[in-house]
Structure formats: C-alpha cells, structure tokens
C-alpha cells in the first residue's frame, strides 16, 4: 500500500518536474528548432514545432557572413585565459584571508565586491584612453586583463568561502609535521580545495564567456569574441528569425555543453559558504 502511494507520488512529481523543466527550457529549445527552419517557416502561424523541412541554410548563411570559429577561439582564449590568471592571483589571496584572517579581512572582502558595482559604461572612456595608449585595443591580452579584473572579486570571494570550510586542524597537523608553506599548499590544501577551485573555474568561464559590454567595446576585428558575433545579428534587415536563431545557437552551444557536462563539478563548490 505504502509502495503504491509512493509510486503515484513519484509519477506526480515526474509530471510536474518535466513540465516545469520544459517551460524553463522552452526559449532555448525553440531557438534551436527555429535555427533549422527557413525564414518563411520561422514565422509561420500557427508555429510548426517538429514537422517542417529541416535545413542548415541559416547556418551556412551565418558562417558565410562571419567566421564563427575565429570568434569562438577568441571567446575560448579570453574566458579561459582570464579565469586562469584570476585563479593564479586569487588562490593565494583567498587562502591568506581564510586561514590568517585579520580584523580588516572582511572589509577588504566587501571592498573587493563593491568594485564590481561600478557601472562599466561610466568608466568606458577612461579605460578606452588607457588601452589606446598601451596598445591593448582589440587584443586578446587586453580583454583577458579586463575580464580578469572584473571577475577577480567573485573568484576571491568564492574561494574564500570555500577555503573557510576546510578544517584548520588538518593544516595545524601538517604544520606539526614540519611541512613548509609551499608543501602545505601543494599537498594538503590543494587536494581539499580542488572541488571549490573547479567550480570557481567553471563559474568564471561562464561569466567571462557571457560578458558583453567590455568585450564588445574594446575589440574590433582580431580579438572580437562571440558577443561581437551576435551583435551583428541583433537587428538585421527583413525576416531574420531563423538566422538570428542559428547565430544564437552557435553562440551559446559551446558554453551550454561545457556547463552541462561539468554541472556536477560546478554545483559542488557553488555554495558561497551557504552550506554548513
């Protein structure tokens, strides 16, 4: 009897779960479907859901206009590069803040976070002038620097909250054994911190990949990532639903797939100290 109820309960939740999942995912699903339609079919009313002539026409059109792979490579280099540099700088800082906190640690933390609240467009002109003088306009290096800076506070904070959960006694114990600081980091801390670092890494790749203000305004041709690629489709002439969908699908596919494959790693450290 109890079993029957729980099966029914499970079935009910299955129905609700799938319905909710479908509704939330629908905008993306619809974009992907539309990208395989012809322009005429894309705006057909009533809309065609699955039964239409599938075509790659829009993808050809998009690729013939802008070299997708170049933009994607730029996105990859910029988001991975900025995340790695960010981690390199942030891990020692977060470690120090977590294990040798001072009275000002929290203030520094909050100050770091508050730098993120500066509206980027307010400082566009100063940054543009500096980048011009340093020859960083439209270079991958320039964009890596900007994105590193933008996401650094989040990286530090995320690592800090994660490191804080690591019990200090273990470190004490290793110190007793006479391990040096470097060894402490490499052999003791790192293995314990890997899940937190991994999820910080993933979260920041996602944030960097999707950053659309600086990447668009500081690049022209050679360093332009996918955000610039999509900017040329945001309002094309005439019927463009299918082309827009194809470009959108191309722009989000890599990061969506990465996100899906690594979601377990992403979730494990994505607690910001919220879990005791």
């Amino acid at each position: 009897m109890a079993r029957a109820i729980s099966t029914r309960r499970k079935l009910t939740f299955t129905a609700i779960g799938w319905l909710v999942g479908f509704v939330i995912f629908f905008p993306i699903l619809w974009t992907v479907l539309t990208s395989f339609k012809t322009e005429g079919e894309a705006i057909a009313s009533p809309p065609h859901f699955l039964f239409f002539d599938w075509t790659l026409q829009s993808y050809y059109e998009v690729q013939s206009r802008s070299n997708y792979f170049k933009h994607m490579m730029n996105s990859v280099v910029i988001s991975f590069g900025s995340t790695f540099i960010g981690l390199l700088v942030a891990i020692p800082a977060a470690w120090a803040m977590a294990f040798s906190p001072t009275k000002r640690t929290k203030d520094i933390m909050m100050w770091m976070l508050s730098t993120k609240m500066l509206p980027p467009v307010g400082v566009l002109v100063p940054i543009y002038l500096l980048f011009r003088d340093w020859g960083l306009l439209d270079t991958r290096l320039g964009l890596v620097i900007v994105l590193t800076m933008i996401n650094l506070p989040i990286i530090v904070w995320m690592l800090y909250t994660y490191f804080k959960e690591i019990p200090g006694e273990i470190l004490e114990a290793s110190r007793m054994d006479g391990a040096s600081l470097a060894k402490e980091i490499v052999y003791v801390l790192t293995p314990m911190a890997v899940p937190g670092i991994a999820s910080t890494l993933l979260l920041n790749i996602i944030l960097a990949w999707n950053e659309a203000f600086w990447t668009l305004n500081l690049s022209a041709a050679s360093a332009a990532p996918l955000t610039a690629f999509i900017a040329s489709y945001s309002s094309p002439e005439g019927l463009f639903w299918a082309k827009l969908s194809a470009a959108s699908t191309l722009a989000i596919a890599p990061i969506l797939i990465l996100g899906w494959f690594s979601q377990r790693q992403l979730v494990r450290g994505l607690t910001f100290g919220a879990v005791k």
Partner: protein, 438 residues
C-alpha cells in the same frame, strides 16, 4: 557556398602565412543587406589587389555608431574605413577627423560628378567630399496595390496625409492581422525621430527657431504628434512602439501592412520575391504632404570614410573607390541582378534602362531624393542643417530622449500633451547645457 567559404578561409590562412607584409584593412560597417552583400563580393577586390587583406567588423547600427564614434573621437585607430551617415559627416569633417577624398573626386574613371547632387552636398563640408556614398535613401510610401484595388481606393503619386490616414483606417482589419499602416515607433534619433522629424517638416514644424529655442510647445508639433498617435492607434500594428525599420520591413514583407512609409532602399527588399511574400503587389508613392510645400521625406546616405589618422590611406582609398564605383553596381548586377544594386547614389543608375526595367520604384526614389533639401528642410527658417536630424553633436542624445517621450505617447504611457511638454523641457535643458541658449 560552404566550399567557397572554406576555400576563402584556406586562402586567408595562406595569405597570412605567406605575405606577412600584406596590408590589412579593418572595415567597420552596418549589418544592412547591401553591406552584407558587399562583404560577400569583396573577393573581387582582393583578387584585384592581392596585397590587401580585408577584416570586417559588421555591427548593428547603434552599436556600430558607438564603436566608431568612440574610436574616432579618442583617436583609437582601430578602423581604417568607417561606415557613417550624413549626420556624422559634417560634424566630423569640421573636427578634422576625416580625410578628404580628393583623389576620388579627381579620378576621371570614378566620375564623382555622377553622384546625385543632394547626396553629394550632404557629404561635403567646405567644398570637399569627406565620404563616398555606398547607398543613398529618401523615404516614401510603399503600399499594397491589391488591397487598394479591393477597397476601391486609388493611391495618388503625391498623396496627402489626410488621404493616407483615411485609407489606412479603411484597410485595417485587426482580426485578420491586417494593419492599414506601419510606421516607426521604436525610440531613437535614427528610428522614430527620423520619421517623425521628417513628418513634422511637412506639418510646418521645426526643432528650433532661428535662436535655437526648442519649438515643441508650438501647435505644429502637437498637430503632427496627434495625427501620428491617432493614426497608429486606429490602423497600426500591435507593439508599434518597439517597431523600427527592420521590424516594419518584416511585417510588410509578410503581408501584414497595407502601407509603410519608410526608407526608399526598402523598395528592393519588398520587391524581392525570395524574401517578400508580397513582391509583385507593391506600389510606390511620394511621402505625404499637408499642402505646405514640404513633404515628409528624409535624406540619408550610408557612406564610407577614412579616419584622418589612418596609416593605410592608399589602400583604404582603393577600397572605397571599388565599393562605390559604377563597376561595383555592374558587379552586383551580374551576380545578383539589377534589383539588388545599392541604390540612390549615382545619376547614371537612374538612366540605366536595365535597372529601370526591374525597378518600378526607381523614378519615385529619384524624385524623393531630389526633393529633399538638407539645407532648407522646414517651412519656417531654421539655424541647422539636416532633414530628419539636426546636425549638432548633441542631437543623438537629445533626439533619442525626445524619441523616448514620443514612443511613450504612442504606447499610451503618456498623453501627447505631456510628451510634448517633456520634450520641450528636455530640449531646453540640453540647449542650455550646450550653451546654445541662456
């Protein structure tokens, strides 16, 4: 098509590896159909000039404008060729930011005298040409002949606003998603304000009087806006306040609008059976008037210009010469047909029998362009140049802010009177801040 792009890709890799000294031109342009075509046809240029590589930065209009303006004003030097309009040219030329295209003008083969006079004068500052027109446009009425016939209406070649209003209301059937008229409503100085400013000119209104005093408190503006808002309420599509050129083009192409007053370049898009479901049913007429001597049509030319600081001027000039030449028109015609050549720049195109044969809108386009006068745009005298804009640096921001007010009135968020009051206040503030009025 894929093979071609693959080969192109391969070629450019080889080119990068082999001829490191080849010059690379970075070209910033709008994502309009004609520019996209230019990009596709650019192999023709690079085969003729193997020592020049082209890098394209194709952006949506507003983004493009921000990017190029920021870059040229800070002398960032990221672009060798910029696509700009008749609004920017006089302002930028005055600052000395653009290279005068003297070589182009003196090139016999290029034949600069062939450029349509109103367009050329729009791109000239102190007798020097600062940008070469890629395509030029005015605005006119596009209408569905079939629907007009069905309703027993006849569109005159030079309609009045009253006729347009009446016909639009008659042809509207909202249950069948049939709208009598589609007009721009999306806020922006180059979107709804381009249309509304041009329209207000025919109603006798003006932005500023001779002393730069804003004129939104005058009856002419009220009449303009009342007419526009009421017309769109009765006969416009839903969501009109977020419709710009592209949105309306899509609506018209899919047969949802009986009339559409917009850029003349749209004529070839709505007449193209590949893109438009109403291709064979479209008629054309001049922009409406109110009997005051001015019609509600504008003048615009997307043009190619070289920033003054560029180090690759020679290659850039070569490219501009190629892209705006008569030969380019021939090239497009041979590849995609005469219907698709970029219109509105050269007199010779409008004398070309082959073009006239496929383009029923050619005469109307030419007449519209020729009747627009940027130097004397309004019924009453004004201190500024520009038909659908005011060629002062403050206009982009001001025009957009006013456009937002008018768009709110269209959406029904404010009344026409309130919108005009706000517009007047905004303009007075901006003019005071800019030091035009005390």
């Amino acid at each position: 098509m894929r093979l071609k792009s693959l080969m192109l890709g391969a070629c450019s890799v080889i080119a990068m590896a082999g001829f490191a000294q080849a010059e690379t031109l970075t070209i910033a342009t709008v994502n309009n159909g004609d520019m996209v075509r230019m990009q596709k046809l650019a192999d023709d240029f690079t085969t003729q000039n193997p020592d020049i590589d082209l890098e394209w930065v194709t952006l949506e209009e507003n983004v493009l404008r921000q990017r190029v303006t920021t870059d040229i004003a800070t002398k960032g030097g990221q672009y060798d060729i910029m696509t700009i309009g008749t609004y920017e040219v006089p302002i930028w030329a005055k600052q000395g930011w653009l290279l005068p295209l003297d070589k182009l003008v003196s090139d016999k083969n290029y034949d600069a005298d062939d450029i349509l006079p109103p367009i050329r004068s729009g791109l000239t500052y102190e007798d020097k040409l600062y940008a070469a027109p890629f395509y030029g446009e005015s605005s006119f009425v596009m209408y569905r002949k079939d629907l007009f016939d069905q309703a027993g209406l006849k569109m005159p070649d030079a309609p009045t606003w009253d006729f347009v209003g009446e016909a639009a209301r008659k042809l509207t059937d909202k249950n069948k998603e049939m709208y009598g008229i589609c007009l721009r409503g999306k806020a922006g100085w180059g979107e709804n304000m381009a249309f509304l400013t041009a329209m207000s000119n025919s109603f006798g209104a003006r932005w500023f009087d001779e002393n730069w005093k804003p004129q939104f408190d005058q009856p002419e503006w009220k009449e303009t806006l009342d007419f526009y808002v009421n017309l769109m309420k009765d006969a416009g599509p839903p969501g009109a306040s977020s419709n710009g050129f592209n949105e309306n083009l899509a609506l018209f192409q899919s047969g949802k609008c009986a009339m559409w007053i917009d850029a003349t370049v749209a004529a070839s898009f709505v007449s193209d059976p590949k893109e438009s479901q109403v291709a064979d049913k479209v008629g054309f007429a001049l922009a409406p008037d109110k009997g005051l001597g001015k019609r509600g049509n504008w003048l615009w030319a997307w043009s190619l210009a070289i920033p003054a600081g560029s180090k690759k001027t020679e290659a850039a000039e070569k490219f501009i010469n190629w892209a705006t030449s008569k030969d380019y028109l021939e090239l497009v015609a041979s590849k995609d047909g005469w219907l698709n050549v970029p219109p509105g720049t050269r007199t010779s195109l409008y004398e070309n029998a082959e073009y006239l044969k496929v383009a029923p809108f050619a005469k109307m386009t030419l007449d519209s362009i020729n009747s627009a006068d940027p130097n004397k745009p309004t019924v009453k005298p004004v201190p500024y140049v520009g038909v659908q804009f005011v060629a002062i640096p403050e206009f982009q921001g001001l025009g957009t802010a006013v456009g937002q007010q008018f768009s709110a009135a269209l959406a029904g968020q404010t009344t026409v009177d309130q919108a005009l009051k706000n517009a007047q206040q905004l303009s007075e503030r901006e003019m005071m801040k800019g030091g035009y009025i005390k």
